[in-house]
Structure formats: structure tokens, C-alpha cells
Amino acid sequence: MLVTDSQIDIFHHSEALRNNHAGAYSCFEGWIRDHNDGHEVEKLEYEVFEPIAIKEGKKIINEAMELYEILGANCIHRKGLLQIGDCAVWVGVTAAHRNDAFIACRFIIDEVKIRLPIWKKEFYRNGDSGWVNCENCGRKN
């Protein structure tokens, strides 16, 4: 688990997962899109509380290793200012078979989104800005 203020080197990180026992590599890339909730987005800023984000991210990866038949996994999340099209988060998973790679990858990104102390602030083309609500805040507690 890493947090970085530089562009994520996806090739480097996926190569680091390479394993001759692996028949499958699955990844997720979260990109910055140009719209959200009816607003035209110009750029986006991520705030990360790293001491806990890294600790909790490692915990999520360890949980995935225990829950699924996978060989390796990693997650990199950006912090700071990002532009449209930038990769904000990458998750990579290797496994002997594709099903475990797919579901473990899904598990990791889903947990990252709800457990890590990371917040995004959107800056809109009309000059407004705002903190984005968490995905599950609409649900009942």
C-alpha cells in the first residue's frame, strides 16, 4: 500500500506482482472524470491522512490474501491535486485463476473506498468547489 503525490507507474507496480505461479492478473484503475452529480469538474484534490491510510490499506490487502486464493496484491492511491484523466487509484492482484483475481481486486477497491481516511474535493468549471460525499452515506447507518 502506497500513497503518492506523483503519477502512478502502473507498469512498474504490475511488473512487481509478476509471478510464475500466476495465471491471472486483474487490476482496477480509478480515473478522474470531467463530471459528477451534474457538475462539470475541472480538477480534483485528494487529502489523505497517511499514517492510518497506509496501515488500514495494508490490513485490507492482508484480508484479501486470507479471504481469496491470490498470490499477490497491491494498491496505490494519489494525494494532492489531480487533473481530468489522471489515475487516482490503482489496485493489482495476481492469482492462479481469474475468478480469485477479479473478486479480490473488487474487494480491495470497495474496502479502500469506505475505510481509508481519504477525502476528495472537486473544483468545478463554474468556479465552485465542494467535498464529495462518501458513496455509502446515502445508506441508513
Partner: protein, 81 residues
């Protein structure tokens, strides 16, 4: 007994308070008591069930005891990814 607690705020909470941390003198004995005390003062107005608390850089339960000298961190609902 009055305790001296450093409280740290992030993202929306930091903007509402106008600073990233403050020293609070409080009678609160748990994290949730302290949060409720400050929530009204600063107008956090966020769904409580999705907020989190950490004590001295470790995620904690809302019912955790707080001690003088602790750094209590209040996290608004997260939105990573």
C-alpha cells in the same frame, strides 16, 4: 475531571473549524462525548454513522476513553478512490 485534549480535524471538518487542530479543555470521558460537544459548537452537520475517530493515530471506537494529552482525530465521511 477536566482533561486537556488536542483535537485534529480533516477535510470538511477542518474547513468548518477554520484550523487543523486545537487544544480543548473538556469534561468528556469518551471520544463520542467529545465529538458531540464539538459537533454543536462547530456545526459539522454530517451523518454521524459515517464519521470516524482515531486516537493517537490509531482508529478507535467512539466509546473509547480519552485521556489528558491524547490527540483525538475526527474524520468526516471518507471519499477515496
Amino acid at each position: 475531571m477536566v482533561k486537556s485534549i488536542k483535537v485534529s480535524y480533516f477535510a470538511l471538518f477542518r474547513e468548518k473549524v477554520g484550523k487543523s487542530s486545537e487544544l480543548i479543555e473538556t469534561d468528556a470521558s469518551t471520544a463520542i462525548e467529545l465529538f458531540k460537544e464539538l459537533e454543536g459548537k462547530h456545526g459539522f452537520n454530517q451523518p454521524f454513522g459515517h464519521c470516524k475517530v482515531a486516537i493517537n493515530d490509531e482508529l478507535a471506537e467512539w466509546e473509547s476513553d480519552i485521556q489528558s494529552g491524547d490527540n483525538v482525530l475526527f474524520f468526516p465521511p471518507v471519499s477515496g478512490g
